[in-house]
Amino acid sequence: MRSKDRIAYFYDGDAGSVYFGPNHPMKPHRLCMTHHLVLSYDLHKKMEIYRPHKAYPVELAQFHSSDYVEFLHRITPDTQHLFTDELSKYNLGEDCPVFDNLFEFCQIYAGGTIDAARRLNNQLCDIAINWAGGLHHAKKYVHHGDGVEEAFYFTDRVMTVSFHKYGDMFFPGTGDAKEIGEREGKFYAINVPLKDGIDDSSFTRLFKTIISKVVETYQPGAIVLQCGADSLAGDRLGCFNLSIDGHAECVRFVKRFNVPLLVTGGGGYTKENVARCWAVETGVLLDTELPNEIPENDYIKYFGPDFSLKIPNGHIENLNSKSYLSTIKMQVLENLRSIQHAPSVQMQEVPPDFYIPDLNEDLQNPDERIDQHTQDKHIQRDDEYYEGDNDNDHQTDL
């Protein structure tokens, strides 16, 4: 580990007052709860806090189509009945409802990630955190589907890696292991489909194996880590069985690569667990282990009756058999063999599977940055569920 990582943490106080509407599972108030926990544990003493600028429409239009952005900017709940065609065109309505300050919310979370990325690019920090970000389904024209992966599907400049539930027509329905990218981007998209109930040991083992191979092969100049918390046990929409420790273990693992790291939020529909998870992970990024007893704060009642950082185990069956996971792993590793090693990489001895050695600090010069040639390469990880009401248990009924 480097002697001292500079951590930049982005937060906009207006995020907490965003409300999607009754019965909608996405609750931005979880960001406010996370922030309260982070401050209650005095983690602000070890990092810098920034208020991001709200992204301008033209910035959003750098990816999304300008008419989509414009529409989001102008639509309000009062006027939406006049625009039923556009609503269906952009896939807004029930699952993605129109609510007051919808656009402002988009500006907040996009602005946070943009500012975080800039800060990393300018080498002003080593790790940047934007828990409001990581909402990755919007595509260029519509809000639906696996937008980020699609955006970079044809390029090798960005490698996307996604760990997610797949099958049983679970939203969004994509993410089969066969989706590996196309054309120049072939083999630069990795999808790891999983079944219900995966637990800490299975998941972390698979995650570490794959991610270490990816980093070794692709040698990214920066990593964007999306920490969707709907993979936690007890999530309102999700169906995995990870504990907070297991989830945070993955964050700890990625941090150890000492690559410029942008950490974002993502899904997560049981807001207390989301707040716990992201507070713990903030601690991990700051090399601080948080004691389980949550200090008193305005929201402590949400964490009852135990007021602890631990969440109960899901007690669900792990449908991911050893052989299944092994098959996926082999498939992914084989695809990775097809990628040429980056030219500046020294050939190193590949450790055997499941053994991840600690990085030797002496070999790394903390002042040296990855060379510019690879600076723009990113990998991104997801391990979350997607918003949507295609969950078997919870039919949102608006």
Binding site: K45, D176, P295
Partner: protein, 536 residues
């Protein structure tokens, strides 16, 4: 004529082979025990495609596969046979049997009107066409024959009419068709055979056009589009490109007329606008799809704007034998443009990098000495009279809040902490609070939605002074907190802050003045409370 039956077998075989995986129109996998049904299905598909082709050539467009408004795909064959079984469209309508038809199809009753309409548009006309095509029989017999297992007569007739072609065409076309089938099965196989030379087809009329069509079909098969089920639709999983429904049986059959093939492919190029799951040409104004060109009549095709074509890639996962397709959009409209790295980071102006709020710039010394104190948890013991009581908890929350405020200073407000906490309720009158609670208790989703979205319309006059932000703040900081407090103490095993409509009691008499009661003393204002919330 003699090989009518072998024809049939070949057709059925090829058809099933081609469509065996995930085809929606022929819903079930080939069931060898139900050979008759399969035959009928394949016949239906065959005839229907011919019907489509003919109608399209008249400029009358029918799109397949058929989709209902909520994104579910409709099996036309099943619908057709069910209605026929019940006596035909008129009988079913008269007797009100549509409900049972819908139920048998496994659909929701609310699509009844759509299904009826679809039947009317697609299948009524088809029936008429069927009877016209079989002059030997009147309308009903035609259907009977169709539903019969005695298929040879019909298919022989069709073959006599449509499949006549000179030998040379047959051979080169079959080669072409074999190639196309291979491509369709393994579209991304780098070892795929290259396209047969167009020159081989020169001898045949319009051979070059045909190869152009083949190329277009291959493009269509290569292109993938991400499928987007509408929310709430759980059954929509499989999407088939219309090209898949063009009858490959006819294509593979010896001596198929080339003109017919090219027209079929022209239908395939027209695509469904998957972003809104509706068909173009209905005036829905989707930006992705320019109005499709009219299907060519002669087989000459101009390439239309083709960025959005619903293509299909068959993929089979190794571990569960569920077969499915995946579709990813391509084109400049879907992928991002990754600019080259110039070596210079853009935007190093501080306003684009976030405004630092902590640590406060001129106070570095204070920040660094306290880093070791980060990460402390809740103290085990406190000096309150009754540990863990409502008052004890409130006291400690307020205490910590004070500490944080003193430490952060201005940043406390920047983080929005002035708007959090149960103290928000101090800005509400008791009456307002009660009204709010009553409203939340109403378990009528539409009213609640109206409440949150429309309150600018002054529906609730008693909340006139409150902005939407105030309401949301109150909801998360007071209302839900109270609900959770109650749950924590009364139903600790059943805690949930997401269910709004649950009834709950309260602990203590609210916040503020009334919270602290002492039987013998005059009420004394709690200095903690006033200090915390006097920042207005």
């Amino acid at each position: 004529m003699a090989n009518g039956s072998s024809l049939d077998r070949l057709e059925a075989e090829t058809f099933t082979d081609f469509h065996g995986n995930g085809s929606c129109l022929v819903e079930d996998c080939v069931d060898s025990t139900d050979h008759d049904k399969t035959k009928q299905k394949s016949l239906f598909c065959k005839f229907f495609s011919v019907y489509l082709k003919e109608n399209c050539s008249r400029g009358d467009v029918r799109h397949v596969p058929v989709m209902l408004g909520d994104g579910q795909l409709l099996d036309l064959y099943q619908l057709f046979s069910l209605v026929k079984k019940n006596g035909g469209y008129d009988v079913v309508s008269r007797k009100g049997l549509w409900d049972s038809v819908i139920v048998e199809l496994g659909l929701n009753l609310h699509v009844l009107a759509s299904v009826k309409l679809i039947y009317d548009r697609y299948l009524n006309d088809f029936e008429g066409w069927l009877s016209k095509t079989n002059p030997k029989s009147d309308g009903n017999d035609g259907e009977e024959k169709f539903c019969n297992t005695d298929d040879d007569v019909l298919c022989v007739e069709i073959s006599a009419e449509e499949f006549h072609s000179p030998k040379c065409k047959r051979e080169s076309l079959s080669e072409m068709i074999t190639w196309m089938r291979d491509i369709a099965k393994h579209p991304f196989d780098p070892a795929a055979q290259p396209l047969p030379e167009p020159s081989e087809l020169k001898g045949c009329r319009g051979g070059q056009n045909f190869s152009v069509q083949m190329l277009k079909a291959r493009d269509v098969l290569f292109v993938r589009k991400h499928s987007k089920p509408n929310s709430g639709s759980s059954s929509q999983k499989v999407k088939i490109h219309p090209a898949m429904y063009e009858d490959p049986v006819a294509l593979s059959h010896q001596g198929t007329k080339k003109l017919r093939c090219s027209e079929r492919i022209s239908i395939a190029v027209k695509s469904r606008c998957t972003c809104c799951n509706s068909y173009p040409g209905n005036g829905h104004g989707c930006p992705l799809e320019k109005p499709p060109s009219k299907p060519g009549v002669t087989g000459k095709k101009k390439s239309t704007a083709k960025p959005v074509v619903a293509g299909k890639k068959k993929s089979k996962s190794y571990w569960d034998d569920d077969l499915h397709e995946t579709l990813v959009s391509i084109g400049h409209r879907f992928q991002v443009e990754v600019p080259e790295w110039t070596g210079v980071a853009s935007e190093s102006d501080s306003k684009w990098l976030g405004t630092q709020v902590w640590p406060v710039k001129d106070d570095d010394s204070k920040a660094t000495t306290e880093t070791d104190l980060a990460g402390r948890g809740r103290r085990g013991k406190c000096s309150c009279k009754v540990q863990g009581s409502v008052d004890c908890v409130r006291f400690h929350i307020a205490e910590n809040r004070m500490k944080l405020k003193l430490e952060l200073g201005y940043v406390f407000y920047q983080c929005g902490f002035d708007r959090t906490g149960e103290g928000v309720s101090l800005q509400w009158t008791a009456e307002e609070e009660k009204k709010f609670k009553d409203l939340m208790m109403l378990n009528i989703p539409s009213e609640k939605k109206a409440f949150w979205n429309n309150f600018w319309k002054n529906t609730f006059k008693n909340f006139q002074m409150k902005t939407r932000k105030d309401m949301v703040n109150y909801y998360f900081n007071v209302y839900l907190i109270q609900q959770r407090s109650y749950q924590n103490r009364v139903t600790p095993k059943d805690v949930d802050s997401d269910d709004d409509g649950e009834e709950f009691g309260s602990f203590g008499d609210g916040y503020g003045r009334k919270a602290i009661k002492h039987p013998f003393m005059e009420f004394m204002e709690c200095s903690e409370n006033t200090q915390c919330f006097d920042f207005e």
